[in-house]
């Protein structure tokens, strides 16, 4: 199972990096968003840490949708989904594999967004780095778990990126709010608030939807037409 997930993730990463459009689009769109929001900076004023956090996570959420749409489109081009489903590989290997690949691609795009946030939105990391990192990884897992589950909706071109974002964004609200607040804490020079309950929220989100995804993925990713 793990071996197959790894093979799936490796194949998806290879295809995404060499010629897949998902990652490039995700990075470009995110950068564009960050730049455009920098225009909302008042003359002589600054963008608040919270606004910067919100812009960062908005860019990430758009990136998520593009990345997963692309990851699942890979299997549709020549009908490979049927091959995977009829192979002895457990369907969960697809979920885990796509999730891993999606997490890597999302992290790569965020590696671009983070300096862009610092540059265009004038932010500095004052808070502890461990908190920034924990938030990044924790919230990303939440995003990816939902993305890998619902990204399968795009199978067969039934639901496109636009519909996927309409469905996924509100569902992600808890983890986005947590990401925004915790990033605001890290970007702000003032003494920090209490991050514990927000970290707990992220953890609860990750755990709940990892469980739900495990149970539900076989229903979304099936041979039914």
């Amino acid at each position: 199972m793990l071996k197959r997930s790894a093979a799936m993730a490796a194949k998806d990463l290879r295809l995404s990096i060499s010629g897949g459009q998902g990652l490039v689009q995700a990075v470009l769109l995110g950068l564009l968003l960050i730049f455009l929001f920098s225009l909302s900076k008042p003359l002589g004023g600054v963008i608040t840490p919270q606004a910067a956090g919100a812009i960062f996570w908005l860019a990430s959420a758009f990136g998520l949708v593009l990345v997963f749409n692309d990851l699942f489109a890979i299997e549709e081009a020549n009908g490979a989904r049927v091959g995977i489903l009829s192979s002895p590989a457990p369907v969960h290997a697809v979920w885990v594999g796509k999730g891993l690949a999606g997490l890597c691609l999302l992290l790569v795009s965020q590696l671009v967004f983070l300096p862009a946030t610092a540059a265009f939105l004038g932010q500095n990391v004052y808070g502890p780095w461990w908190l920034l990192l924990a938030t990044l990884i924790g919230a990303d897992i939440g995003l990816v778990v939902i993305g890998a589950l619902l990204g399968a909706l795009s199978q067969g071109q039934a639901a496109r990126e636009s519909l996927l974002s309409v469905i996924v964004f509100p569902l992600l609200l808890p983890v986005l709010l947590a990401g925004i607040t915790l990033f605001a804490m890290c970007f702000s020079p003032e003494p920090m608030g209490e991050p514990d309950s927000w970290l707990g929220l992220i953890l609860a989100f990750d755990a709940l939807f990892a469980g739900a995804g495990l149970f539900l993925f076989p229903f979304v990713y099936s041979g039914e037409e």
Partner: protein
């Protein structure tokens, strides 16, 4: 490696499929034994592909049952879709499917397989540049790798030139002669009936004919 005796690899018992309230077919019963070709015939829309997806365990019957006795590791699916990732080399494509089937083949084994389908020189080429015939041969290599005891064919001949088509027919009978049970949906029923052992003809949302291939008269299907 030939499964002993005549135990069916696949049995379908009074299966029906609905789409919502719409009946696709009902009361479909058939069996596939080792070394036997079952040809599925019928007009477009009769539910041939639906039936095959059901046989392969990809979709549930609405009523009745489908019993698969062939191991999943030794079941292969060869359709008009090639299952090929255009961005990867022929070798990488084949290797990926090997892992999916839990085989972890070595590079040499993969090259041997590609040689068998005449793609040894294209092994390091991106599969996206392949012609339809080459892509289908790469697809065939995947089936060889699995060494199936049960093989599903969903119009694999679509878009192939006559020469590749003849080759494909030879390969299919070759599998049968090695004891593989074959379920075959074909575009060229009139020609392919001669190769089959049994025919299952769907039409009018039920089975029109199920029996020995030599007694099947495709004319009856026309009306």
């Amino acid at each position: 490696m030939v499964p002993s005796g005549g135990e069916a690899l696949l049995s379908v018992r009074r299966a029906a499929k609905f789409y919502g309230g719409k009946l696709v077919f009902k009361d479909v019963s058939c069996e596939v034994r080792p070394g036997e070709i079952l040809l599925v015939a019928g007009p477009n829309g009769a539910g041939k592909s639906t039936l095959m997806r059901m046989m392969a365990g990809l979709s549930r019957p609405s009523a009745g049952e489908v019993i698969l006795r062939a191991e999943p590791e030794r079941t292969a699916y060869l359709g008009h879709a090639t299952f090929i990732y255009p961005g990867m080399t022929a070798l990488a494509n084949l290797g990926f499917w090997g892992t999916m089937y839990g085989l972890s083949p070595s590079r040499d084994e993969l090259v041997t397989l590609l040689t068998r389908v005449g793609l040894e020189r294209a092994a390091e080429e991106k599969a996206g540049s392949f012609s339809r015939g080459m892509a289908q041969r790469l697809n065939l290599a995947r089936v060889y790798m699995v060494r199936p005891t049960l093989l599903f064919l969903d119009e694999p001949g679509t878009g192939l030139d006559p020469r590749s088509l003849a080759l494909l027919r030879r390969e299919i009978t070759g599998f049968r002669d090695h004891g593989t049970g074959v379920v075959w949906i074909s575009h060229h029923v009139d020609k392919d009936t001669a190769l089959a052992d049994t025919v299952l003809a769907l039409g009018g949302r039920r089975v029109e004919y199920f029996g020995p291939a030599r007694e099947y008269a495709p004319e009856a299907e026309a009306c």
